[in-house]
Symmetry: C2
Subunit: 333 residues, 2 copies
Amino acid sequence: MAGAVPLVEVWRGEVLESMHAGHVVICDASGDVVQSWGDPGKVILPRSSAKMIQALPLVESGAADAAGLTEAHLALACASHQGAAVHSEMVTTWLSDLGLGDDDLRCGPEEPRDTEARDALIRAGGTPCQYHNNCSGKHSGFLTLTRHLGAGPDYIDPEHPVQKAVREATEDVTQETSPTHAIDGCSAPNFAATLHGYARAMAFFANARDDGPVRQKAAARLRRAMAEYPKLVAGTGRACTELMQAMEGRVSIKTGAEGVFVAIVPEKGLGVALKIADGTTRASECALASILVGLGVLDPDHPATLRRRNAPVFNRAGRVTGYIRPAEGAFSA
Amino acid sequence: MAGAVPLVEVWRGEVLESMHAGHVVICDASGDVVQSWGDPGKVILPRSSAKMIQALPLVESGAADAAGLTEAHLALACASHQGAAVHSEMVTTWLSDLGLGDDDLRCGPEEPRDTEARDALIRAGGTPCQYHNNCSGKHSGFLTLTRHLGAGPDYIDPEHPVQKAVREATEDVTQETSPTHAIDGCSAPNFAATLHGYARAMAFFANARDDGPVRQKAAARLRRAMAEYPKLVAGTGRACTELMQAMEGRVSIKTGAEGVFVAIVPEKGLGVALKIADGTTRASECALASILVGLGVLDPDHPATLRRRNAPVFNRAGRVTGYIRPAEGAFSA
């Protein structure tokens, strides 16, 4: 598995049923590796863990302020939300304020992951819309910047001014030239970099100052917006939301598809990026919670922590059949 | 990952985004390993891949015939169905014929995985029942045997006569003493054995003869029932169903949770068992399809094969963003 190390174990009864290996990097303000597991040079696609980077041009350009976006909008621009009513309504109003609608989005339709919203949609005989898509906040941000720049409607084209700005911001904060990009689940380009590069980017966010240059100001603002509105960044029951709530605004975290997770830890000036080699979310959540506990910023006994770091596996009758746990010795110093 | 070898790659654009390692064993009539990847001695929980073994006592005891079960019922007893109308209706009739109802099941309620059935349930304001559970056919088989034996209602207790019979059958066909059991998603005990043991069990099914002893007769009948009713064993769009259809009744296959998959190949007298170390279904499907192609029993160009063995990954806008493929050189001889 190319340098990945065992990080997370899945037990059922007395049997070690499954195992997840991966890579973790913790960086400081200098961009140096403070601690790592696996291969820091592993090239990854950050997926939705890059959303706060993708939102930098929106804020830096003045587009967010010109459109009257609030900190809640910025949190939603960094979100993989679950299409609950609060998310969908905020996106539709946002688009409407821009004089735009669902058809202007390019993220594709997605059934709401929020059960209540999903059931309401089905009962109403509706079909999933693009605004239900977990990335619709990010795309509303892209549309806001597109409008501000007077650019064309195909804002997901890698050559569109919005995506060129995202690439420039990505390469700046990762301090790497992206070797390639791929197309994300929402059709936006997603820029490859090393895991070290993305940890370095998170350290940039962690150390960004309000009295610094414009990119630092934007990064500090986005980091705070995420921590201030954890329910907008994901939703009820989700790891991003529950763990940020447990850390009471001190740390900003963001999950990504295929087992990516990142954290911004301002009080320590640290950035964290991790990738589970097999792409499994249950493992990335367990690993991130373990790292945050190790850094002393997450209470190991908080219920939200225990639900990831020593997560009981329930079966359909509600019986506990096993646990998801850090691999033996995985996160010791 | 304790001897697991790379089996499946997940590509997105030009990036090898995720990787799955695992173990595979192919056994012949003698129970010897014909070919293997990874560790044949790996102890696994077979999960739902053991359903045809769990159904042996139902047939051998005469309970199935006494209750008038058809081959379709036997296929459903071996199923992880998706709660489509055809599955739910067959289970409810089966229970009713026994004078039983949903409350007699012990599998727990589960929302139908079949979208049409799920939406109909939500529109009707209903809640998921136990008969919707993907294991409800297996449990109906357990209840049929329970009735036949005049045993008590708690048929999922490991000390219940039904589960004792399942354990005896498991240890006989795996030719191993199960070191432990765990509780499955449906609350039934699930008996641990080595991957070699489960491949040996599948070879027993592959070589079982109608003119053989009672256990062989039962195994041959169950193997044929699965192959004859592939839609009952899983459902529309599912790997078990589509690949069995593609093989036109020549091979019986069964998926299990946490990356297990098994195959019974009568024309070659072979049994196959595989386990993806990280427990991921997309990888177990790709690996099993690759093994079946390698054995010459599955057309590599059949659409059902291509959907697993070189599976395009679609995003929410319907764009192909990558592929799930066998790892380089993974399944060469």
